[in-house]
Symmetry: D2
Subunit: 371 residues, 4 copies
């Protein structure tokens, strides 16, 4: 099978780099178009990222060894250029890892879609756009089915926008979903996250703020952590999404001196029906969803991994489980205040960013939305 | 005034070092007796701690500059030696920073007390002994008044045991107490702590476990964090303490790569009567207690400091507030699930260990229990 | 004695903050004028640095408690404002901790001096200006005596410029000077530095570059490390400085995940006359210089501290020796290739920046150059 | 081809874990025998390492997924057990990653060899045994040819001992050898290393010593760094090795807060014949040796990788180059004091430990010494 040519917007940023690294040797997709800020435009990709390469994978001996190394970086604001790439067969759709203001990203992603280029986005700008699906492939793959409506709403022919949620919720949304799906309603969640510095992009978090320190604040992160799950658990009604009524979530988001891997300490209150600890372990261990059924290349075989050691999961030791795409859970035990509590770890720039975006694209491809 | 000679048990450990450092130039107390494991016994204190000195303060140019540097380390198991030191006027009471098994510490602290030597302890061994007060000087100074009963119970003449609680609760017990005292009952608390490595002693946490990592588990810590507040908020009934009935606390305790300073993310549910955010700030800012009234040397002038910056408190930047004896609080805001949430930081080896122990001794002295 | 009012240029940066912190309660100087970029101008100092406060000292409970908290930040480019402050008695001279391009700093420092305001600078811009002294108070205090010539060269009445060298050389320049002064010529030095992130200012080094990592490169640092010693060891000839002919220095400068404190691993080759290890220890231990004779407030009593433990000095444990103004040296031993090798640590933002600048100002005051 | 069954002594330690991880899916070798301290003996391997797993690779979702997980750990002191394993076809030779005193290791490795079991060792105990080869597969593969003599010396039939050198020299020995082989003699080297904490084993370096700190001392490391190269560059004369006369090496060994990857800052003086910078780059880029010719499974395709970015190599970003088996070099430039200087990074627990040991075993197999 010939590979599908893809583009990456924001290709030189932290998440953009991760896309480049993860798409090297991808069985379906091939990066043939990279775009970033005007400052990087015109440079070789390998030069543009030079000493700033921070992706976990790839670059094992030099960015010049990357598949995308010899691509010329284009200006991400130049949609005409991208349209020309589409025309000459170098770009079937784009991954958006843009790092700009919300309004600029919204406008730019819209322009790409309007120009006939599907946008699979990591950016938060369009997450609350009413007809844009916010996808976690294992949780709400059906939300992709709003795409025809979205196209119709906008008068777009081939282009559309699909987004993924914030990295901070990846570690507990799939486990939460598995419980809901097994028939156990969840009323309330109080979660504290210990988030890696790569989540802040590059240059991102200054070392003076994080060596021998933690920062108990990440701008906008708690709101996202509390609200995005409601859309993901919501439903399509008419032309747009309607939020689920619950669960109620309270989040404390902390930055910690960890390179990759977000950790979440979760206390959770069920509704009237309460599973036993053993039942929960069984539900999580057995959980499989559409990406596993479709055997999508980026899908983890085991989406939720239970760790029985008392001191796991830990970000450095568990972030890479299942190529960085699984959630590792441990310390599942009764909560003194709610019903249960546990610790969950997932890789924020793989599962929580580029890897999740790629899995979304694979899902959209399998569902026929990417041609 | 002539200084009171004091001894330190476990003087070469992490907390013992902190005692030595904090008692240098103390206006009331003077370290004249140091005891540790048989391995250290017979050495000069400066040699025994040599390359293992990890206290935050003191040693600014060499442990040989410490007041205690030229003391010979005694065997902490040798109570007879200590009794001789008492006799010759070198030790009026001891601070216990022993690092041994629970049973060994209980037995050893009992032996010291039985030998007529008051024990002001940091160790957890005697915290749940029914007639031993677990003191936070600003919160339950009245609990010290069980001491005459304790002496009577045990048939001890001059000796007694008083302890302090675990470092993990220091950052929120004083604020909690201030709210209770102002008439606002508290039902439930869910807290996640991000605790410094110095809390694990030395050698303690291996660097392989904590560089680029967090460990979401500290053995025994969550139980202490959940239960000790109930004794502290309890009351003397007859010969012993009876726990307060609440609040219910659920704790997630994490180790993070921070040298000193424990951070707590707290979600709190009041009873029927709920103060406003402004009212809480006023209560905390105005809070003063017996240590402040007595102007005890180690007491912070401002026990609770409110920070208004969005990203504070932080352990490295706030742990030293009020000589490491204050609690710094920030991010006070409504909780999505309970009533309020906030972040609190305190210095675990100062306020949470040696500094808290010294303040307890000052309180006991002021109350007349140390002769 | 009434305190001398001083100003700080670049007051909100990393080094500027350190000046504010170190000058709180200074016996001679009082900060009455603070200036920074136009972005900060007009704000209260406490607000301007708000969540960005990174100085090691001060702020123990809030920047609002700083002496300088309630000063309004001025625009550092506005020399007229500063001249007005001089006129009204709020500024006798300025410390320059400007963070701009070299040419801008040179021009701005010149403007202040031309306006009659002495400039005691940390910036590198004027270090190689031929009639500007580059002072380490213990090493070349006599270089201050070029100031009358400088004034004459420039036609300046009261203003002048004096600078300090780069922080990377602080840890070995005083020991080197002590050896030279004792009559032991030094031919060659190969030094590797392990430098703290605070040396890069704020935001400075991104955490993604330094957590679980070192960066073996700091732009321009090796050149400074190799060349500045030659001016410091040089002499005034006619109107300007002439470099010393040696020693030859080769520097490898590395950034490491340490907040404060630069470490240098030094291999050193003497000339024909070679002291014994014991002789060197004696020379360093006994070393005193003009700042000690004059008993300047910021001067360390013991400028060079010898540590005998096998694993010292270490930046976190030794940077604060003598209020951060001493150099701590350990591991003095024969070198397999040159004559001796040793490890030296000094505090880069105290001794190596603001503290060194204050000591220079004290020296200039004692010598009568600051009125 | 049927895989060769191998055993690992010290299998639960840091290096032992790395052997287990790297041998998973090895094309030639299969771990069928694991031995460790009596404390671990009798446990399942997955349980014995449980919460202490620190190897970089493997364990992506649980140690229970490792090939070796279900092996029972044996007592490494019990050579009879190992001999029985050999007899039943479960162990053709052993990798020794023993962590004991030097004399114990020497005696134990001798016992294994005497019992007919070849020992490919990481331990330092036998490095200076006169008839034991200390191998870097790319540098001195010919030293393996002492093995028949060694067997004869000891009266051993099938067993023998081969060792690898210390991890601290891996990053510059291959580059040094490439220069020597190209005809450029090297007189003197001064090197400062910045070494990862994994080099200290587990629990190893306490976090209190290394967070916000560096430790400029590693016991015994500088001696190894200075002396081992001379044996490696030496020759077989008669029954034993004779050291090369040079180069003279002076090493400063530092521990830094990095998990994996040793960095070396090297200043090097050639003899009379001095290559240009470009010539050196060519020599290093083109360097290939016997492991590459034999296409050994663990051999890096490109043993020495030149990085042109100004700030590379860095341990976190470059340690994994060529599966952790390459040396990455950057900042090659003239030295102010010697001829050239450069920075080299290699992975200390892969290339510098288990990976290097496996490559040695592959070499020995290819040469016919492992049956």
């Amino acid at each position: 099978m010939e590979k599908i040519p893809v583009g990456i917007l924001g290709a030189t940023g932290m998440v953009g780099q991760q896309y480049i690294a993860l798409l090297a040797n991808h069985p379906w997709f091939e990066v043939r178009y990279v775009a970033a800020s005007p400052r990087s435009a015109g440079k070789l990709y390998s030069e543009a990222v030079g000493g700033k390469w921070n992706a976990t994978r790839g670059d094992l001996g030099g960015t010049s060894r990357l598949d995308a190394a010899s691509l010329i970086v284009e200006d991400a604001n130049d949609v005409t250029k991208a349209a020309a790439a589409v025309k000459r067969g170098d770009c079937a759709f784009v991954f958006s890892a843009l790092e700009m203001g919300k309004d600029e990203i919204t406008a730019l992603e819209d322009s790409y879609a309007a120009a006939g280029i599907p946008v699979v986005s990591n950016a938060s700008a369009n997450r609350w756009t009413s007809d844009v699906p916010m996808l976690i492939a294992e949780v709400n793959p059906g939300h992709a089915d709003i795409i025809p409506l979205q196209k119709k709403n906008r008068g777009w022919d081939k282009g559309f926008i699909a987004v993924k949620p914030n990295c901070s919720i990846q570690s507990y949304m799939t486990p939460l979903w598995a419980l809901l799906q097994a028939g156990y309603g969840v009323q309330r969640i109080i979660v504290s996250t210990l988030q890696a510095v790569s989540g802040g992009g590059y240059p991102g978090v200054p070392s003076l703020d994080i060596v021998d320190n933690v920062v108990p604040y990440i701008g906008g992160e708690e709101e996202k952590t509390e609200q995005e799950p409601l859309k993901i658990l919501g439903s399509i009604q008419g032309n747009s999404f309607v939020n689920a009524p619950g669960p109620k979530i309270s989040a404390h988001c902390n930055r910690v001196p960890v390179i990759d891997g977000h950790t979440a300490c979760v206390s959770l209150e069920f509704g009237a029906k309460k599973p036993s600890i053993d039942e929960i372990k069984r539900i999580w261990t057995d959980f499989r969803a559409l990406p596993q059924e479709l055997d999508l290349p980026m899908a983890p075989n085991q989406p939720i991994i239970i760790r029985e050691e008392p001191n796991r999961p830990q970000p450095r030791k568990d972030r890479d489980a299942e190529k960085g795409m699984a959630v590792s859970i441990g310390r599942l035990r009764p909560c003194n205040v709610f019903d249960i509590r546990f610790v969950a770890v997932s890789h924020n720039t793989v599962r929580g960013a580029a890897g999740g975006g790629i899995l979304n694209a694979e899902l959209l491809k399998a569902k026929g939305y990417l041609g």
